[in-house]
Symmetry: C2
Subunit: 550 residues, 2 copies
């Protein structure tokens, strides 16, 4: 039996229309460094969004489903692109400006972007790549910049404001099927080609509602949010879309992401909320300790991207009265996967075990843990498994390229369509997730899992150990066993492997203790400073490590 | 271009599964009068919901799409029915126990309900109707009650707890298309047969997200909500579904809706939120003035159903620190249409014009005003029109009956599918709605509209006037003109029609002044105490009124 409800699609244009009318007075303030900030009301953004859509369609010939890339910081013009491109039925493709040049070239080609909107300040990054961006027909330069670097380039070059000028300030947005592509974002995996995640109008809409729910960020038009997390990083965690849904004012940092300008813009523009990775907040704390600023407007900060040190959370709360809330997600999850509010209004010390977890799943994110033998593990806070998730804003495939079928690698999607996150952890009976390892770093020993991260953390608690990385190595009897690689502190004197093993003995189960040990001068690191375990595994396989077996 | 997102339906079973696991510790407390309240965790509700679904399917033979009615107060068992029936793929039909017997019989027959769950305390209401409820095969009695009144009735009679006992506490909920019917509710219009609105799983899910958004009620599992608004009245404004989505604890009043027990349960169980029509709050205020109670736990109260007197809002806020928020909606809008939070955190006196309006539309409720000539009126806070709305939880038709097509009366649905609310009002540029009249009570005079309510309110400000009702009467020149019917205060002495007209002259435009006047002994009223204008119009048409023409 069918309902008698109206069949109305959930689309980006609906968010845009609402934000620019009912919340037309809300504002985007973009930081400009030393000059006065640029200020635009949502109503003005609405007119400019219409102009941009006319410019793209009539000026550049951008059609339905065409991909339009942005290489931009967080600013008002980027928000205009965020709404105009999906609302007109084209696909917004945000480019991560921190990716290596090779990957950017590959990604633009794979998405077959027809145009790129680029901040003038980022022209030096784009210009050298342009000769290899075969699909790109138009480059639109936003704001001031040295356009001479584009002289002689193949694509047509346009100036953003000139392109918009004089065009109609209203656009008859098409009513799209809510499952149509709205935006895309490529993940930069450490192995293989980048993978494209294609968000739908439906997923963006539902995710925006979730962000604004009281159990999540719960923002309203009484708030001003400062998204430090880049708009090229999973849609700035959904904040621009969520803001237009409820009229949240936005304070945009543009390229001024250093601690000093961040402190300055918080003091001057008084945001109530912000979102960023932990390193940003560590930098801000250090800055504030040296040059105090008034950040009393901030009430609530969302931290994600990597685990946040509890000390950082405590300092923010105790010294500045800012509530720090953990969140976990990934490009494939739009990104909202969990949010770390404690249950039932628990506060004080009782709340900390919950607050330092990755957080709790919302109703739209179904989760399960798959253990070493492929069976579902209980939510008991102890049993570990790989986290798999399912929901209306979770990816079920990767983009296959123009005209090609979506791709569903077995190691990323289960046969019944759930996303394999590649993260290993535990879940409490009340749905709080704690991640311990990446699945590829877990040691699969005789049908059980050994957490490499747990062994590392214990080892790094030994007074003689500076760093320790534990990796899985092949073992005839057990399948895999842990290899402990240890960097000793300078001047720590001699310490035997037996002593290190005994140090672990009362901290982990006996069968988890490594037999294989080696001292190395330094742990190899990735470009973002994480332990590069695949290098260690390769060195072991090549016999380059001097391993002692106990 | 399609997205790569998972295609996961928004269903009631998803809300249920989430609420009974992640929020398994949240509770429903049902007031029982003098005894200890009944307390159940969401986890327990989950097990009992599974048992109820097994009982309905295996015990009573209820199949997909079958309608199951409830004639119940707000209590834990009603919540069990709320989830079990839609989650198993059947359709929950809540019966309004305040409807006249004739309408209840008609509605049960039209919906073709196969079973009715009834509170024991409501058996005296149901029993006399049963012989005429031809489609009903099963009556399930919940809680204590005098079942002897059912002796010899045709349908099979079951006792709720006995029916559930021993059945499995888990159920393999089917994954339904989100556009499937989940629940239905009939409107009791003053003219014609009642009309059935059929909610979908999708509309219930999206509405629940909206209720929990910060701009709306923004509730979390740190809250306890007391829905005084009945669960047979538009799903208790969505609160039970919304509660299971975020773990909001529920305090259920059952049949104890009088001011004294309400005050008592608020003091004892300390809810943070409540929702009811204004008369409930007026009664509570009077009760508290006489017998003070501690209601300090209440922070936020949602008022809807009819306009709330500002004095009531102020008293609650100033005397008890309870924030009163207006909301507007109807059965056809699930019901959330607008919520009256002031814009941008405005507070104090500046906020009042917004707070006494019906409130602001959320992103999912698109609105337009259609003026006297059928054209769209501007949102300028002055131009009046009939409110039409569109959105994913707004009805686009009424239920046509089993096997029949949905019905779309012209006066309720526009040709392009919008709901004609039958309410006339204005909207400010920032989306705040103020309703002034029912469309059928507006006087259409020469292509302009005259508000009967405005004329009445002004007239009732005259010291000699007790009541005044203004209705449209036919006029050869203008189409319609206002007829003022006036009830004079006892002992107010003589007052001429000219004096009353002059009293209005500086309050409304000259062309709006009534020419036709009559004094009547009392304004005829409907069963719920509203002015019954159709009776006045009929009396005028029949020449029964002694009308003076100025």
């Amino acid at each position: 039996m069918l309902s008698t409800m109206q069949d109305v699609p959930l689309t980006v244009s609906r968010i845009l229309r609402h934000g620019t009318t009912v919340h037309g007075r809300s504002r985007i303030t973009t930081w400009t460094g030393n000059a006065e900030p640029q200020r635009r009301t949502f109503a003005e953004i609405g007119e400019r969004t219409a102009q941009l859509a006319h410019a793209l369609r009539d000026g550049l010939g951008i059609a339905r489903d065409d991909r339009v890339a942005t290489l931009m910081w967080n600013n008002a013009e980027h928000v205009e692109a965020y709404f105009a491109i999906p609302a007109m039925g084209s696909v917004l493709h945000t480019l991560n400006l921190r990716l290596p040049a090779e990957q950017l070239v590959w990604i633009v080609g794979h998405a077959a972007d027809r145009a790129i909107l680029v901040d003038g300040s980022l022209l030096p990054l784009l210009a050298p790549l342009l000769p290899r961006l075969d699909t790109v027909e138009h480059v639109v330069v936003v704001g001031p910049g040295d356009t001479s670097v584009l002289d002689g380039c193949r694509p047509a070059v346009h100036e953003y404001e000139a392109l918009l000028a004089g065009r109609p300030t209203a656009y008859d947005w098409p009513e799209l099927d809510e499952r149509t592509a709205a935006a895309m974002c490529y993940t930069s995996g450490t192995t293989g080609d980048p993978k494209g995640v294609v968000y739908s109008h439906r997923s963006v809409y539902l995710h925006s509602m979730q962000v604004n729910m009281g159990e999540c960020m719960g923002l309203t038009d009484a708030d001003t949010s400062l998204p430090v997390v880049p708009m090229f990083h999973v849609n700035a965690w959904g904040l621009p879309h969520a803001a237009f849904m409820t009229g949240v004012n936005l304070l945009m940092p543009d390229r001024f992401l250093q601690p000093a300008p961040l402190a300055e813009m918080i003091e001057a523009e008084r945001p109530t909320h912000s979102a960023a990775v932990p390193t940003i907040w560590q930098g801000l704390l250090a800055e504030l300790a040296e040059r105090p600023r008034d950040i009393s407007s901030l009430r609530h900060v969302t931290i994600g991207g990597s685990a946040c040190p509890p000390s950082l959370m405590r300092t923010f709360e105790e010294r500045y009265g800012v509530r720090v809330v953990h969140a976990w997600g990934m490009t494939e999850t739009s990104p909202l996967g969990t949010v770390g509010h404690p249950p039932g209004g628990l506060s004080g010390e009782d709340a900390w075990p919950y607050r330092v977890s990755q957080g709790r799943f919302p109703a739209s994110v179904e989760a399960r843990l798959i253990g070493p033998d492929g069976s579902e593990m209980p939510w008991d806070g102890k049993s570990a498994g790989e986290l798999e998730v399912r929901g209306p804003w979770i990816a079920g495939a990767y983009y296959g390229g123009a005209g090609a079928e979506p791709i569903r690698p077995e190691d990323r999607f289960s046969p019944d369509g759930w996303l394999r996150t590649g993260d290993v952890g535990t879940v409490t009976p009340d749905g709080y997730l704690t991640l311990t390892d990446r699945a590829k770093d877990v040691i699969k020993s005789g049908g059980e899992w050994i957490s490499s991260v747990e062994l590392e953390n214990h080892l790094m608690g030994h007074p003689a150990v500076a760093e320790a990385a534990v990796v899985a190595v092949p073992d005839e009897k057990w399948g895999e066993r842990p290899l402990a690689t240890v960097v000793l502190k300078e001047g720590a004197g001699k310490v035997s492997y037996e002593e290190l093993r005994d140090f672990l003995a009362d901290k982990v189960a006996r069968w988890q203790l490594p037999e294989r040990w080696t001292v190395i001068p330094a742990v190899p690191k990735t470009s973002v400073g994480k332990f590069d375990k695949k290098v260690l595994r390769a060195r072991y396989a090549e016999g380059e490590l001097d391993v002692t077996r106990l």
